[in-house]
Each structure stands twice: as C-alpha cells, then as structure tokens.
C-alpha cells in the first residue's frame, strides 16, 4: 500500500472490569497491526465475539470504559492533518468527527431519533461540521438526498414514517454528507432483506467511488464481502489472523479459519451439508496459549499450542498468522464464484 490513510500499530484494547475487588480482563483486541489505503474498501470479517466490534470502536474513537486502549496507536492521515485517535484528546477527536471520520451504525431501525424530523437530524449532524450558511446547507442536503434517490419531502418526515431501506439510506446520507475521507460501516445491511441489501451495498460503493473515501466494512456475511470489498481482514479471538485481497481470500485462503469460513458458504444447487467447526470461540478472559485457533483447528500440531504464530506475508499482499499456512487446502472455486468473488 503506497498511500495509507490509516495505520494501526500493535493495538491492544481490553475490557477491564472490577467485580468486588477482583480484576477481570477481556482481551478483545490483542496486538493488531494493519493499514488501510486511500479509496480502499476494507472488509472486516469474523464471528460474534471475535473482537471486530471492539476494533472498530477504537477506529471510530468511540472507546468507553470498560473498554480501554492498553497500547498501540491508530494513526489517521487526514487532509486536515494526522491524528492518533488512540491517544488524542476529546477535543482533537471532535475536530475530525463527521468531517473526516464518519460512521454508519448497525441497526437502521433505532439509530434515528424517533421524535425528530429527518431534516432536523441532518441539521444536528452536519450543520456544524460543514460550516455553510443556512441556505447553502439546505441546498447541499437536497443535492445529497437526490444522490441517495430519496425524495426531498422525507426531510419533513419522522423516522417511523419511513421504510427500513429508506432509513438505512438516510443513515448513509448522514454519514456521507460531509464527504468524509474515512467511513466505518458496521453491519450496514444486516437487518435488511436481500433486495434492499443489494441496493444499499451499491449505494455505498457508488458514493465511495464518487467521493473517494476509504471504507471499513464490517460484516459477518462473507457474500457481502465478496461483492463489496477490495481487501478482507479476518478476526478470530481478538487477533487479525489473515488478511489479503478479497479474491485471494476466497480462492486461496492461507489460514484454516478463513478456509472454513469460506467453505461454510451455501451454493445454489448444492445440497451437501456445509462443514461446521467443532467447539466455540475461546473465552477472551482466558484465551488459550499459542495460536488461539488451535483447539478447533484440524491442522494443529504441538507448536501451535505453545507459540503464537506471527502475521507473515505468504503471498503478495496476503498475510496469514498460521504456522502451517502452506498446508491449508485451497477450496472449491465454485463456492467463491457463486458469491460474487469474480475471477
């Protein structure tokens, strides 16, 4: 990556809690190093409690106790100047919020204030960061709505008067109206039906292409990743276990967890049962030694139980944290093809 907008170095973010004097620590994000390029759509995948939500909370500078950044840095290189949001003060973060760094939140049903008109919400969110006079601001909002294919009269509507898909488009509109350089999209399509999902995904892609923003796209839905992202990072138990260009991740995964994730995808016409992994993700308060995936890994050897595998480059642009990455079976191409990871 020649031009990076985000560089995360050795990031550790733990949930630290005290129950009756006993300290408990959940290592939700443990030693993550990665970077995202300008205009890139980066997908983050992983099952529930893999730490992906905690990770993007740090990226969004939305860390609240009991979650705490223990070490590491999260450096953005915005046009307005570089900022390390893991160490910045609230006022410094406030300056880049929405102008440079915006967020599409999960759950379009509940992210809009039920007692405020959409127009008022646009004003709350974007008036200050845009810094335009009232008239120019109103025109900007109308132009933006047109781009989102939303009728202008929704500005007078309350959220309950809109459909789920419209609400999600409004949320995307709120997140993109200031032309931010970096957008974090947290499960933006999860609660929507497939047709609306497709619409919303295209919308995000189009807006991203038009405005030239970087997008971090978080979802556990691998077929969404196949359709939208340029690169994918796979999280498992608080660690980034594999990352690489989307196509490679589908056709030539180099981590057994990724291979299973992709192999679990259904395919039209194929009635064979999809393999599922035994066991469950580890307890992050007491993660296993060595590679955290070893209790469930079919390839695990003694070394995996003792030493933590480093994230190493296994192919151009592809990194894997597995001692046995060379033994990972590439999978049936048709599954990847069926999900849109086109060759």
């Amino acid at each position: 990556m020649t031009d990076e907008i985000l560089r995360v170095d050795g990031l550790k973010a733990y949930y630290q809690m005290h129950y009756f004097g006993v300290q408990r620590e959940v290592r939700a994000v443990d030693d993550v190093t990665m970077s995202i390029g300008r205009n890139e759509v980066y997908g983050i995948a992983g099952e529930s409690s893999s730490g992906k939500t905690s990770f993007i909370k740090v990226l969004a500078a939305a860390v609240r106790p009991p979650l705490r950044v223990v070490s590491g840095s999260v450096n953005y290189d915005f046009r307005s100047g570089p900022i390390n949001v893991a160490a910045a003060t609230a006022a410094e973060v406030e300056r880049v919020r929405w102008k440079s760094l915006s967020y599409i939140m999960q759950g379009s049903m509940s992210v809009l204030n039920p007692v405020r008109r959409i127009g008022q919400t646009f004003h709350d969110f974007a008036f200050r960061p845009l810094g335009l006079p009232r008239e120019a601001f109103d025109r900007r909002v109308l132009d933006h709505l047109a781009r989102l294919k939303l009728p202008a009269d929704i500005l007078r509507a309350y959220p309950h008067e809109l459909s789920g898909g419209m609400r999600q488009r409004v949320t995307i509109g709120l997140a993109t109206i200031c032309h931010p350089e970096f957008i974090i999209a947290d499960e933006p399509t999860t609660a929507l039906d497939l047709v609306v999902q497709k619409e919303v995904l295209h919308l995000i892609r189009d807006i991203q292409a038009e405005m030239g923003a970087s997008v971090v796209f978080v979802t556990h839905d691998m077929s969404v990743h196949a359709n939208v992202t340029d690169r994918i990072g796979i999280f498992y138990a608080g660690r980034l276990v594999e990352e690489g260009p989307t196509r490679k991740m589908f056709f030539a995964p180099r981590h057994p967890y990724t291979a299973h994730l992709v192999a679990s995808l259904p395919r039209i016409g194929d009635t064979a049962q999809r393999p599922s992994l035994d066991g469950r993700p580890p307890n992050l308060a007491a993660p296993p030694d060595g590679c955290r995936f070893h209790p469930r890994c079919p390839l695990a050897v003694d070394k995996c139980r003792i030493d933590v595998p480093p994230l190493v480059e296994v192919a151009p642009g592809q990194r894997s944290a597995c001692w046995r990455w060379q033994d990972v079976q590439p999978l049936d191409r048709s599954v990847a093809l069926a999900h849109g990871a086109v060759t």
Partner: protein, 334 residues
C-alpha cells in the same frame, strides 16, 4: 391538521363521558347512603333549641320539599342533572342557606392555584434534576439528590405535612401554618393580600412538592439512564452533535414521553393528596370544604365538591392528553 382535529374530538367525547359517569356515580353513592340530609338538618336544629313537634314537622316538610327526597330516585336523578345544568345543586346545610355551588366556587381557586403551582414545580424540578442525574451519573451533587428523593418518595402526604407544621409552626415559627391569608388583610387585588396568600401557600405547597419530587426524579433518572444507551444517542455522540442538543433534543425529549403520561395519571392522586394537606394547614380549598361537608352530613355540598373536582381533574387530564401528540409524533399515526 385534520388528524389532530379528530384526535381532539375523540378525546373531548371521552372527557364528557368520564364526567357524566363520575358525577352519576357520586350522585348514586350519596343518595343511596342511609344518611338523610333532612333528618341530619332537623337533628341539628332540634339540638340547638326546643321546638314543638308541629314546628319540626313543618320544617321536615319544607326541607323534604327542598331536597326532593320523597320522590323516586330516578326522578331525583333527572332533576339533579336539570338543576346542575343551571349551576344549582341546592343550598348547603352546614352554611344554610348559601348555595353549595357558591361555596365550591369560593374554594376552587385556592385548590387550583395550589395544585397547579406545586405540580408544575414538582414536575419541572423532578424531571430536570432527574434527567441530569441520569445523564451525569458520576456527579456527586446529583447523587445526593437521588438519596433525598429515595428517602422522601415513600413518605405519605400527611406525615410530611405534619412534620413541616411542627418544624415551621413550633420549632422555628417563621411561616404561617393555618388559613389562606392573614386575618388582618382584606381580600382583594392588593399587594398586601397577594403577599399574605403567597406566604400562607408556602407550607402546603412545599409539602406537596416534597412528596411528589421523589417520584418524578427517580422515574426520570431511570428513564434517562435507559435512553442514553439507545442507538440514536450513541450515534449522535459519535457524530459529534452538540452536547446540549443531545441532552435536550435526544435524551430528555424521548424520556419525557412516559413522564407526561405519568402526569396525566398523577393529577387525580395529587388532588386527593391536597385534601389531606389542606386539612392539615386549614387551607380554604376544596379539600377542607369536602371534609367539613362529609362530617356535617351536607350531601348537597359533597355532591357539589365531587362534581367540580371530577370536572376539573377530567379537564386537566384532557389538556395533558392534547399535548401528547405534540411531544410524540408517533401518537398521531393512530
């Protein structure tokens, strides 16, 4: 706008129905009770001086005629509504021959003023402080308010009223403890009179405020600490929306909705609370009048107080109801 018109019309019909059934119930309860107003009146008159049996019989006839107690109940009921339509509920017994309606109308402003002022103060202070306490959960001063609210909230009206009476009437006698205004001030729109009224209202009002405060404070604090975890609040915070906008337009605005419902349901309770408070402070309102009427067996007056109270509480709830679609846009959609 037309949807709002129908909303108001529906609520107005409901209001009329509530008043009709409430007043009817009071009518039948008083008229089916074994206490006869005529005999009670005669008993009192006969106690005071000796009359010949003929004179008593004459009086009985006159009083029976006046109250119409010899006619069938249903006919009395119809007559009652006819007279009520003309604003006449017959003469009071304990203040014979002053019309019961006149006594009620004299007492009504006192109670309404006391209720409106104390309810407004309680509602605004309780909700505002409760909202702040729910939002700034680590603020020590607001935590202290929480403790005060928890202590005050379960204490009944009459205990608070008596404690205030003892504290400010005997231990530290700085405030008037009885009546609506000082005896040496002539009623009228003068500054002296107003000042006296205000001074006399302090203790009854404070006792109502103290008791009501806890409920609103604790309710609002719980509501706000829930609302702040809602996605739309988190999202607004992530977007860097101004703190004051989040607090007012997002948090309080949403937490207010159930509190306004609570206000409508609370008005009746607070009204029954004033009956006791007024009695303790000998305040010249509807509560004192009602208790005098009950003890005096004055059922024209009981009926008059109840009728006016039912109407007043009904109208107050109606007004709150009308505000509802303005604070919650989702209500209009019904």
């Amino acid at each position: 706008m037309t949807s709002y018109f129908w909303f108001v019309a529906k609520r107005a019909v409901l209001l009329v129905a509530v008043i009709f059934f409430g007043v009817s119930a009071t009518f039948f309860i008083t008229h089916l009770s074994p206490i006869s107003p005529v005999e009670t009146a005669l008993g009192r008159i006969a106690n005071q001086s000796s009359f010949s049996p003929d004179a008593i019989e004459d009086m009985r006839r006159v009083l029976t005629d006046l109250y119409g107690t010899d006619r069938p109940l249903l006919q009395q009921y119809v007559t009652f509504w006819q007279k009520l339509a003309a604003g006449d509920l017959g003469p009071s017994l304990i203040a014979f021959p002053t019309p019961a309606m006149t006594l009620v109308m004299q007492a009504l402003p006192w109670t309404v003023a006391l209720l409106v002022v104390s309810t407004l103060i309680t509602f605004l202070a309780g909700n505002l402080l409760g909202a702040l306490a729910g939002y700034f959960q680590n603020n020590m001063a607001l935590k202290a308010f929480g403790v005060v609210a928890v202590v005050l909230q379960p204490i009944p009206y009459y205990v608070v009223a008596f404690v205030l009476l003892i504290l400010f009437g005997f231990v530290w006698p700085v405030l008037p403890i009885s009546g609506g205004y000082a005896m040496d001030v002539a009623p009228g729109w003068t500054l002296d009179f107003m000042w006296s009224v205000a001074l006399h209202a302090i203790l009854p009002a404070v006792s109502l405020v103290l008791v009501g405060f806890g409920t609103w404070f604790l309710g609002m604090r719980a509501l706000v600490s829930n609302v702040v975890t809602e996605d739309y609040v988190t999202y607004a915070e992530l977007a860097g929306v101004k703190r004051s906008t989040i607090m007012g337009g997002y948090v309080i605005r949403n937490a207010m909705i159930p509190q306004v419902t609570g206000l409508a349901m609370n008005i009746g309770t607070v009204f029954s609370g004033t009956i006791i408070t007024e009695q303790v402070f000998n305040y010249p309102g509807l509560g004192s009048l009602l208790i005098d009427a009950v003890f005096g067996g004055d059922y024209a007056l009981v009926l008059a107080v109840s009728t006016i109270s039912i109407t007043a509480v009904g109208i107050a709830i109606f007004i709150v109801d009308l505000l509802y679609p303005l604070i919650d846009p989702r209500v209009k959609a019904e």
